[in-house]
């Protein structure tokens, strides 16, 4: 239980936590941008925002994950290729190959192993942020529309500009409407983390498969049979505990945010207090 490879398994738990920690705010930022774009008064911008929100509904998210990891990689390499090798004559896409000039490669073929791993992780985070950004854009867009009209009209009556109304009235009030959706999203995000495995990051799923399995049925470096079932049972329990703790925490947060709000939750608190 304390061999080097087991240590990698325990470390990969932190990889998952790091992914969650980085992706959640990034996705929220993407979502905020998407929601603002969808609300925009300029038609093309609003179409763009709405398309960003809508397209994720019709297509399985795992397809997006597989798509973006390659697409983003090629996109970055293509840009670097344009910048670093302007004199390059040959086509980049040759038959079934995608070849950029050597200095444009990402990461450089001379760079050490950890750079490759970090780059892979970075691509995974970006992919998660794009996909979950669309989800949270939808939630925030709904929340912005849920803020009572009267609040905005009052702001206008006080002579606030559109920008002031947005930042001082709309944004502070929308969170309580967004929280149920966002907490749901957090749960979905937790449950999507094992998909890191598909993006080529050596996460918990990878190590559970490695360590539980017998490399060769007759001769194996691990002195046990096929334990993968038990490793995955452990993962199952880990995720169950994780989602349960999040649920309890989010309920507490909801109680706190409802305080003093013009919602039924806030009203119930006021009555209970009075």
């Amino acid at each position: 239980m304390t061999t080097g490879k087991h240590m990698s398994l325990y470390l990969s738990v932190f990889v998952v936590l790091a992914l969650l920690g980085i992706t959640a705010p990034a996705a929220l930022a993407f979502g905020f941008g998407g929601a603002v774009a969808a609300r925009s008064r300029i038609a093309p911008v609003s179409w763009l925002g709405k398309a960003y929100i809508a397209i994720v509904r019709g297509v399985p998210d795992i397809a997006f994950f597989l798509f973006f990891v390659i697409a983003l990689d090629q996109f970055f390499e293509w840009i670097r290729h344009q910048v670093k090798c302007p004199g390059w004559e040959e086509a980049i896409r040759r038959g079934n190959d995608f070849i950029v000039c050597p200095p444009a490669k990402l990461p450089l073929s001379t760079s050490p192993q950890w750079v490759h791993e970090t780059y892979g992780f970075f691509l995974a985070v970006l992919t998660f942020a794009i996909v979950f950004g669309a989800f949270s854009a939808n939630v925030l867009f709904g929340a912005m529309r849920a803020v009572p009209r009267a609040q905005l009209e009052t702001a206008e009556a006080y002579g606030m500009s559109r920008r002031q109304t947005f930042w001082r009235i709309l944004v502070p009030q929308m969170w309580v409407y967004a929280l149920p959706g966002l907490s749901n999203l957090w749960m979905v995000l937790i449950k999507a983390t094992p998909l890191l495995f598909l993006l080529g990051v050596e996460d918990i799923v990878y190590w559970a498969r490695e360590l539980g399995g017998t490399a060769n049925p007759r001769f194996t470096s691990y002195p046990h049979g096929d334990w993968r079932m038990w490793y995955f049972l452990a993962l199952l329990v880990f995720y169950l505990g994780f989602t349960r703790i999040s649920e309890i925490f989010l309920e507490k947060l909801m109680v706190k945010l409802s305080h003093g709000q013009a919602t039924s939750g806030g009203e119930a608190q006021r009555r209970a207090g009075a």
Binding site: I53, A54, I55, V56, R57, G58, V59, P60, D61, I62, A63, L66, F67, I70, A71, Q74, R93, N96, D97, F98, A134, F135, N138, V139, G181, N184, L185, V188, I190, K191, A192, T193, P194, L195, F197, L198, V205, A208, R209, G212, D226, R228, M229, F232, L233, L235, L236, Y239, L240, T243, R244
Partner: protein
């Protein structure tokens, strides 16, 4: 090779009928469309069967969760909690290795290790848990007056449930249930990316899309095709569920009869 020939060779490739070897070079658009469409057969198979079977278990679980019997209530709650609280991806892995261990005990478990049965069972239980929670919420939202009216008419037990409670529950749950159905079909793409092996390269739509993306190293063709197929599939589901929704609400006055409002609710 003409496109018609390709369709003849590969349209049923995912179920093992037609050309044995997958295309090796060239990879025309026609091959992309045919093979990915062929894989869609599996997505529809998994989605439809799991949804149909899951519907009945979901009703049972929802009724169980609102039961007054402690044992039944607790077991339903745990069932929902376990399947909703853990990732489907891990459930697939766990189920596969569980069946693999059981296979060593008795050869009767052989078919469970292949995707068509093993993955179907996981999807069935998973969707039953999610829809069970939806139905449970709807059960609690049934207007008190409906139940009182049923009592006043002398309905009891099963008759009351079948004639009054169940239809109202479905009516209230239907928009959320439509959403769940869409997500279930999306979840079917996970099957061949978890532990379940695709024997003889017979996979689902995403499996073939990834096959093309890996071979041509060009994600910009196969994935948009896959996306197109899935958007069509989603529209079909919304259409079918809309028909059921109309039938469920047929007794309501015309104005009150809202169409299945396409709330872009992205979350399961």
């Amino acid at each position: 090779m003409s496109c018609w020939q390709t369709i003849q060779d590969y349209a049923l490739r995912s179920v093992g009928i037609g050309e044995r070897l997958l295309p090796r070079e060239g990879y025309t658009l026609c091959e992309h469309f045919t093979l990915i469409g062929s894989g869609l057969i599996w997505n529809v198979y998994f989605g439809t069967l799991a949804l149909l079977a899951g519907f009945f278990l979901a009703t049972a679980v929802a009724v169980g969760k609102s039961s007054r019997n402690r044992l039944i209530r607790k077991s339903s709650e745990w069932f929902i909690f376990i399947f909703r609280g853990s990732p489907l991806f891990i459930q697939f892995f766990f189920a596969y290795f569980l069946f693999l261990s059981l296979k060593g005990v008795h050869p009767w478990f052989d078919p469970f290790t292949s995707a068509w049965l093993g993955a179907l069972i996981v999807l069935f239980l998973n969707t039953a848990a999610y829809s069970g929670e939806i139905f449970y919420g709807a059960l609690r939202a049934i207007p008190k007056g409906d139940i009182e009216a049923a009592d006043a008419y002398g309905f009891t037990g099963l008759a009351r449930f079948r004639r009054i409670v169940w239809p109202t529950m479905l009516r209230l749950a239907w928009p959320a249930y439509t959403n769940e159905a869409i997500f279930l079909f999306h979840a079917t793409t996970l099957v061949f990316f978890s532990a379940f092996p695709a024997w003889g390269q017979r996979g689902d739509a995403l499996y073939y899309a990834k096959f093309f993306a890996d071979k041509t190293f060009n994600p910009f063709v196969p994935y948009p095709i896959l996306a197109g197929y899935f958007i069509l599939l989603t529209l079909v589901i919304i259409g079918l569920f809309g028909l059921v929704n109309r039938r469920l609400n047929r007794h309501l006055p015309q104005e009150a009869r809202r169409g299945l409002k396409l709330r872009v609710n992205l979350i399961r």
